[in-house]
């Protein structure tokens, strides 16, 4: 009896192991290829580059585990960044603007969650609509003009570090840890997994699944808003199309990280590793000078390799 328990366990660990191997392999390969790869400065680069994607990957992982998804994340990111920038330019103190921006993210979450929780439209469907709508809003709020001209201090903040570790990365790492603990050890976590596995059963246990999903969308909006603050600090400027295609990177890290698109399965630690895989890949290929064209092909192949089930299975 205990034998197949181990077997089951290992299948859960398998994707994590695979990713650690992938990361090690990349590290070795790139450091052989380029002497600059393992320099502290470069590691810091990688950390800073994946920070915002990571912040979005957290709520995205949670939503996907709970059986939904937010396709409008890139638009939300852009909109929040623009809103934040305009508030700062409008004379609102940075901290107040940051809080308001997170509220804007929450409001977008309320909007997105409404369709899922009240109208029972699957997230992947309704958020395609809001993706278009929110991107449209990006153009409307500043009549298409980029937002920039922020204070020196704010721009410095984008590159600030603590003991050499970029602040944005620290924040992301802390959030990841918090999410991991919450998912493993709290009420919240069980509900996320339970809903993703079997929404009906969960509802039959007296849990208000719709309301909970709504909450997840609000959380999602808030974390994206947070990411937008760091992104804006790093860029110092927001165009109306800011964040476009970020969703693909976020999805790729989450999915490579072994979180099942079908919901209910996967581990936030996996998403973090997936993020590292992609971050290191991008950086390493850039450093050894591989054309981005081949980079996207390599990324595609990597996605396939990690997701494929090569063994032929019958019973």
């Amino acid at each position: 009896m205990s034998k197949w328990r181990e077997w089951k366990l290992s299948s859960g660990l398998k994707s994590i192991l695979l990713m650690i191997i992938l990361i090690l392999a990349q590290l070795i390969w790139f450091s052989i290829q380029s002497p600059y790869f393992l320099k502290i400065g470069n590691i810091v680069n990688i950390a800073r580059q994946i920070a915002e994607i990571g912040m979005i990957a957290i709520p995205t992982s949670i939503l996907i585990i709970a059986g939904s998804i937010d396709m409008s994340m890139a638009s939300t990111l852009g909109f929040c960044a623009m809103a934040f920038g305009m508030m700062m330019n409008g004379g609102i103190p940075i901290w107040a603007a940051a809080v308001l921006t997170i509220l804007v993210g929450a409001a977008i979450g309320v909007f997105n969650g409404f369709f899922v929780a009240v109208l029972n439209i699957p997230g992947i469907v309704s958020t395609i609509g809001s993706m278009v709508l929110i991107r449209g809003m990006c153009y409307i709020i500043n009549r298409g003009n980029p937002v920039n001209g922020f204070s020196e201090g704010f721009i410095k903040f984008g590159y600030a570090d603590v003991l050499g570790i970029p602040v944005s990365f620290l924040v992301m790492a802390i959030l990841f840890m918090a999410a991991a603990i919450l998912l493993q050890r709290s009420n919240f976590g069980i509900k996320v997994y339970a809903i993703g596995n079997n929404e009906v059963s969960t509802r039959f246990c007296g849990i208000k699944t719709n309301r909970f999903m709504w909450g997840l969308f609000i959380l999602n909006g808030m974390l994206i808003a947070l990411a937008s603050i760091f992104l804006l600090a790093r860029l110092g400027s927001a165009e109306a199309n800011l964040g476009q295609n970020y969703d693909l990177d976020v999805l790729a890290s989450v999915l490579i990280g072994g979180i099942s698109i079908l919901g209910g399965k996967g581990n936030i630690a996996g998403a973090f590793l997936g993020l590292l895989v992609i971050g290191i890949l991008r950086n390493g290929l850039n450093i050894i000078g591989v054309s981005v064209l081949y980079q996207s092909i390599i990324l595609g192949v990597l996605l396939i390799l990690t997701a494929a089930k090569w063994k032929k299975v019958k019973d």
Binding site: L235, L242, Q244
Partner: protein, 335 residues
């Protein structure tokens, strides 16, 4: 103009204790070629391919290693990531076509702090520490010239529309604003009725042009502010003319346009004139200027580059000049 000898010195004072990788590579591997990183807005376009050719040719001519790479999508965050990565790799000079003029400011100042020379090309980032901008001409000159062309085409009055690649893109906005100012100042009888954007998709810009023709039956002219717009407009006009919905010559078209894409339309008269420049020359000039900075060659006046082309220096700007493409000269160019 800080293109002096000290820029080439490895240890700029601000770099302080942080040993820059650039300094590293130069110091230790003496006699090694300098490494120039040329970063377009994105790759996979003919325009940037030509820039790559130019940049690499210049690399050979000046004896530098040139790496040309960019993102697949127009995305300023990824562009900055890539510049940072190349700085790590020890690039001694950067030639960048910024997607967002403001967003590159911080990475540029860090590059300068490490003693890396920075030049923008194709699109400028004026409020940054970049040392030179290599372009065909200023956005303002370009836009004004386009307005002059369309005004001449339509006889100084009537309705016109703008077609742009991205409504929110900085370089498009700069051109549009200059064009609007020019209209207001010099052509009060020309009315700008609409602006449509295509996100650089030909099918979308074709659709946009078709819809414009329907919406404004009395439209006189269309100005395209990115390479794909004028040919799409021409295609739409030709199709409408063929279908008998429009009279030939009723709608005039101009804009930025590459000879290869516009050749047929220019030859059959759908388009009179477009403005163009050779991105190959831009790429070449960018690398060439970097090398001048590196070697401490004085940058001023009219400079003849090793490939025989000249650039005009005007303050921090280096202009290769705009080419007016028309029936007479379209066959002289192949790009």
């Amino acid at each position: 103009a800080c293109g002096s000898k000290e820029a080439a010195q490895p240890a700029a004072p601000e770099a302080g204790k942080e040993q820059s990788p650039a300094a590293d590579s130069q110091g230790s591997e003496n006699g090694e070629k300098p490494l120039y990183f040329v970063n377009p807005k994105s790759i996979g376009y003919a325009y940037w391919d030509l820039a790559q050719k130019g940049a690499e040719a210049a690399g050979t001519d000046v004896g530098a290693e040139v790496v040309f790479n960019g993102t697949t999508d127009v995305n300023s965050a990824k562009q900055i990531d890539m510049i940072e990565d190349m700085m790590t790799r020890g690039a001694t000079g950067l030639v960048v076509a910024p997607n967002d003029a403001k967003a590159v400011a911080s990475v540029f100042s860090r590059a300068r702090a490490q003693g890396i020379n920075v030049i923008t090309f194709d699109s400028d980032a004026p409020d940054t520490e970049r040392q030179y901008y290599v372009g065909a001409d200023t956005d303002q000159k370009l836009a004004e010239q386009l307005i002059d062309i369309i005004a001449e085409d339509i006889g100084g009055k009537g309705k016109i529309a703008f077609m742009v690649a991205g409504l929110g893109a900085e370089n498009q906005i700069a051109k549009m604003d200059a064009a609007k100012a020019k209209l207001e100042a010099d052509y009060p009888d020309i009315e700008l009725v609409a602006t449509v954007s295509s996100n650089d998709e030909m099918q979308v810009s074709l659709t946009n042009a078709q819809n414009l023709l329907k919406t404004y039956p009395d439209l006189k002219g269309i100005v395209g502010f990115a390479g794909g717009e004028a040919p799409s407009a021409a295609e739409a006009v030709e199709q409408a003319v063929n279908a008998g919905e429009l009279e030939a010559g009723q709608v005039k078209i101009t804009g930025i346009g590459w000879p290869n894409m516009c050749r047929d339309y220019i030859k059959n008269g759908t388009i009179n004139k477009v403005l163009a420049w050779q991105s190959e020359t831009l790429g070449y000039a960018g690398v060439y200027l970097l090398d001048c900075l590196d070697k401490g060659i004085k940058i001023e006046g009219e400079m003849k580059m090793p490939n025989g082309k000249t650039i005009t220096i005007d303050g921090p700007n280096a202009f290769t000049g705009l080419i007016v493409i028309s029936k007479d000269n379209v066959d002289d160019y192949d790009f």
